[in-house]
Symmetry: C2
């Protein structure tokens, strides 16, 4: 117990005075059909356990990704899924990932006694592709990467899978729906060592409902189900299962809001750069920004004082992560940046 | 992975032709206020992460049990909580429990490399109190026990806590609200080695929403939170948190339906006994019944053929577990028993 080092999530303040750009939530609401479906399921059936296998949701996801049902696994948010995957595939082994990435990965290493091989970033927080390819061990890649926003090509990832076919490559696509690239899920039958992890929290505007899933070859899914069934028979409640199914059916709504997020992201990136900020290329729903002349801590404090919450990491001295919000909120952020940078 | 041996939950058929008496769900619906509250929370806020600490629910539970907030921990169902507790307190150690009890306990031992010390049952599946007290190691006691229904007195449990103060006693009170006995939660500040685990799945009719909780001294709660924060920042979704708070506020509704369950249980027990069944004393929402002359497997099959699902365990040759349902459904069960026993 004493050696465990928990993950710290972004602040979740119930204080509506803040513009909340710190935990990469979607600024747009879930689709009206999703909300209607949840309400329809609030009935006497809540007294009964949910389907332990979430069959309807698994089927809907299989159809959406054009894979068979035995290639799909669902979970209570993708963090639970990552925990199961580290437990199933990396416990007591080596696992490599970029040094700056989703900070829950080293926490899972710690929890399941995996040895974390942290690949140092290159200039401007770029992932060192050569170093990553050289590792003969499991690998975890957030694609796009967080908090930097960098997108690796599927071509690179396929090469990585081929270079070390006996070790798992876990591709965490939490933010992929904000990129111009298809999911690696299409390759799961080509590469038995590929596990793709996805979530409804970002692009489906359902962070509040906790739904994650994985696509992988059947043997990987069997392993995840073994861990799950040793842990909790019913990780997804009835309403989360129903919400997930409804969300998949309403893809056109989600395409529309996510296109808007991308448009806003590109616009704000250009504006911040014009004001003298350094902004890394981002294919996600956030920007990784350095405010020249200010430390990340100073900038976090300045924004917070003015009612905007952004994400600052103690181990990143210059850059902060800013989630893409509503256009009006981003205008406020740009205006504040102007005041700061022109002082 | 190869050594893991998952838990098998009772069948969850979505087939309404069956009278479902196999997974100890409450036959009565959640309170109307709970359902109203859930619906009120189906709104744009679902795009945001839930409160990672479930503060409102923790506060409501603390108030209900008259303890401070730092004595309360909430989880995605009580199975997740049991998993965290086995991980935090029993990993790589010995833990004792009755041989016939909730069959997830040995699964957790397996998952977290704890050595299970299974105390053989006495005559008629009674827990061997003396043997349990003699164990100098962690202990897990479902009270009332499942699937037998036996209730141990709080006096005995206090003695157990005092006899081995350096080892944790986890009291799983999933079914206690169906007994005439107060929760052990009132003793958590007297005994630093007591952890009480409870659930909304049975007495609060919310199996479909996945809400569990623990009451224990603050140092135990800190340990559970450390594991939780290494695993999943947000295990309870927004609607589950809101449902839990609303359920606690509507205690009088739940007292009423659970009184009805107890009345039905006592009535059905007497009727089955009159028909020649052996029924163990039960302080829970199920009965543990032997149909004289029939194996548990035969009885399971006979009931299933007639549209009634009950729970049969491969390792229990004579007895089956029957959940208490609506009076009308129990009448059907009694009638069928009559036909079987009078053949």
């Amino acid at each position: 117990m004493r050696t465990l080092n928990p993950y710290t999530p972004g602040e979740q303040l119930n204080d509506k005075r803040y513009i909340k750009l710190n935990t990469n939530e979607n600024p747009y609401p879930p689709s009206p059909n999703v909300m209607e479906t949840i309400k329809d399921n609030v009935n006497d059936m809540l007294r009964l356990y949910p389907d332990p296998e979430s069959c309807e949701l698994v089927e809907a996801l299989a159809k959406a990704h054009n894979v068979s049902k035995d290639c799909v696994f669902v979970s209570n948010g993708s963090d639970e899924l990552l925990a199961f995957a580290f437990n199933a595939f990396f416990a007591n082994k080596k696992v490599a990932f970029p040094e700056i990435t989703y900070s829950f990965y080293p926490v899972y290493c710690n929890l399941y006694n995996a040895e974390a091989v942290k690949i140092p970033m290159k200039k401007d927080y770029a992932i060192d592709l050569e170093q990553l390819t050289m590792q003969a061990c499991g690998k975890v890649i957030a694609n796009p990467n967080a908090p930097t926003g960098e997108l690796l090509s599927n071509e690179y990832l396929c090469g990585l899978l081929e270079s070390d076919p006996n070790n798992l490559v876990l591709v965490d696509e939490a933010y992929l729906d904000f990129a111009q690239q298809e999911s690696m899920a299409r390759y799961v039958l080509d590469y038995k060592n590929l596990l793709v992890v996805r979530t409804f929290s970002k692009s489906y505007s359902l962070a509040g409902m906790r739904i994650g899933y994985a696509i992988g070859s059947p043997s990987l899914i069997v392993a995840l189900n073994t861990i799950k069934n040793c842990f909790n028979s019913y990780p997804l409640d009835r309403l989360a299962q129903a919400a997930g199914v409804a969300a998949i059916k309403d893809q056109s709504y989600y395409d529309q809001i996510n296109d808007q997020v991308k448009t806003t992201r590109n616009r704000v990136k250009a504006q911040l750069e014009q004001l003298g900020c350094k902004v890394l290329p981002s294919e996600s729903n956030f920007l990784f920004v350095s405010f020249t002349g200010y430390s990340s801590k100073d900038i976090y404090t300045k924004f917070r004082e003015k009612g905007i919450l952004i994400r600052q990491f103690s181990y990143i001295p210059r850059y902060v992560r800013i989630s893409i919000g509503l256009d009006s909120d981003m205008d406020t952020l740009v205006q504040l940046t102007k005041e700061i940078m022109q002082k």
